[in-house]
Amino acid sequence: MVMKVAGIDIGELTTKVVILEEGNILYHGIAITADKAEIAARKAIEIALQHTNLAMLDLSYVLATGMTRNGVSFANDTKTIITCLAKGVRRLFPDVRTVIDVGAESAAVFNIDGAGRVDSFTLNDKCGAGSGVFLESMAKMLEMSIEDMVDEALRADKAVTISNTCTIFAEQEVLSYTFAVPPVPMAEIVAGIHESLASRIFGLAKRVRIVPEVVLCGGVAKNRAFVKSLNKRVESELLVPEEPQIISALGAALLAAESATVIKGN
């Protein structure tokens, strides 16, 4: 029988699922986390099963990750997000040494040594200004979509400086630019917003080491303006996976496959 396993990452805003069949990705998907961990995970896995025409019983092993991972009753095991990210990133980028993960409401940076072992990590879950929610809140205030904000920022030749480190105060600062006389071009304001987030993430990354290859993942890695801003600071080229949001779910699935193989072997 062909072995299928699943990895689930329950994030603050979205729940990600990856199903592997004999080590290959059979499915990956993202669902909104609108409920408690158990319900969010069930909803996400049901969607995955529908897409793949599988039943729960077809999955040999399910591994959950994310802050609320312990609330998923149908998971065979749980692992922390760093372990899963490391596994997932290494699968795609075997020579990775630094991983920067910027999610909706948290960020993490860690180093991986040549043997694939994580040796340092640092987290930011204290401050919205250091995660995706910062961009969301700015977009909302400026009544722009994130996509428009990105396009606008990429057009800018220069960026305003947003010196406040707090999202709330930064909003006031952005407002002061929008009403400035003479007006500040919107492109420069939104470029400044991306620079501000990149600067905070870079500061977080400096708490560990930035050693190439550097991989950027998490939902914010899809934001091209942010990637550009961060790339200016990081000396080596930032590598961004095609689906940066699913890396921890992929790692969880890979770990699930390892555990399932051990069980099968026994």
Binding site: M67, K79, T80, I81, I82, T83, A115, G116, R117, V118, D119, S120, F121, T122, L123, D125, K126, K206, R207, V208, R209
Partner: protein, 425 residues
Amino acid sequence: MKIDEVKTDMWFKAMDSWFGMCRHMAEKPSSSKANKLYYELYVKYYERLISATEKGNIVVHPTSVPTEIIYAMDLVPMLVTSSTWQMAYSLKMFDKVLAIAKDYGIMDETCSVHRMIGAFAFKGWFPKPVAFVYAAGGCDAFCGSSRLLSHLYDVPTYCIDTPYHYTGQDIAYLTLQLDEMVNLLEETTGRKMDWDRLKESITIAQKQMELFQEIRELRKAVPSPMENRRAWQLNWFNWIYAGSDDGVAFFRTLRDELKERVEKGVGVPGVEEKFRLLDLFMAPAHSFKLLDWMQKERGANIVSETLIRYDNDVVLNPDKPLESLARKWAGGPLWNELQGTTDDVVRAAVEDAKAYKVDGAIWWDNNSCRQCGCIRMTRDGLLDKIGIPTALVTCDIMDPAFTTYDEMKDSLAQFFELLDSRERS
């Protein structure tokens, strides 16, 4: 601004609750001899403070003042940090006290220890002392909070100016500073230093220090015999029972208990040692149960604390009591690491990591503590020199709302997985 009146009701209320908790802990059937004695002595310490509150002979100090001097003048030292924590803990009012500090304009950017001290002082909840003494080095925020206390309570204060390094000349300077402290206390309290009593306490302090070192040695055993939270108990008693027979009794009881475990080749009851960890900074005072969790649930034994150690060359001479205290201070817990260069911190961390055969280190990244600025150097030092990874646990020493218990637990869980994977590879 001065406080209108000293309102010790809260202080006594906290004592009642604290005594109840201590007695409960001491009487628990599972409580070891050392544990019982610890709680009994903690009660004794506060009973003495209550009696001193009535007599009016309290000297308030942080963990930077040789209390042997205060005892030898027949005064009663009150360790402001542990008293603050104990009051907030007993009355379950961490949030309330921090809110009071904010009401009085003490910014959140200030370390929560000092915010709490400020709140208690503004409210007049501490008993009125005859003097405040503190040191400028290490945690220099004490310069602010101690002066605030002194100002609000309108009592004299003395600041021990501390040298940055501890060469012979620096020790001479520190000795002179302690001498001046004695003069100030004599002037302000009208009491005279009993030099014979001080010499006697130096002899006891030497014994206490030797026991302290023995305990540290015993923790090198595999499995390590000591409970994670015990080191901080040792630290507090090293200050509040400095140079006293009670202090020696506790240290000896604990030493005997650990020695027995080591001789039998057993560790802490109910703990299967999986990881040996080096503690690089202060764990959050409100969540010491986290130390129990990591030990009991994850087999993570903290085997050494770089902040709670004596340099090997510290020897006390009763004939030179103040100089001895200067040496003890400079080479002893907290201040040998908090004062001086980060290179020294890295050196101590690497030495301990090797000697205690640790698998990893933990830095409790305390919000608003400037000492946490050197994390990167220490972490890189441990990793580059001996391949030891360090967990960085974001927390606040007194504010449980800053990082929740579950968040800290998750941070540690990530680290234990990291150690697990290193062990496997």
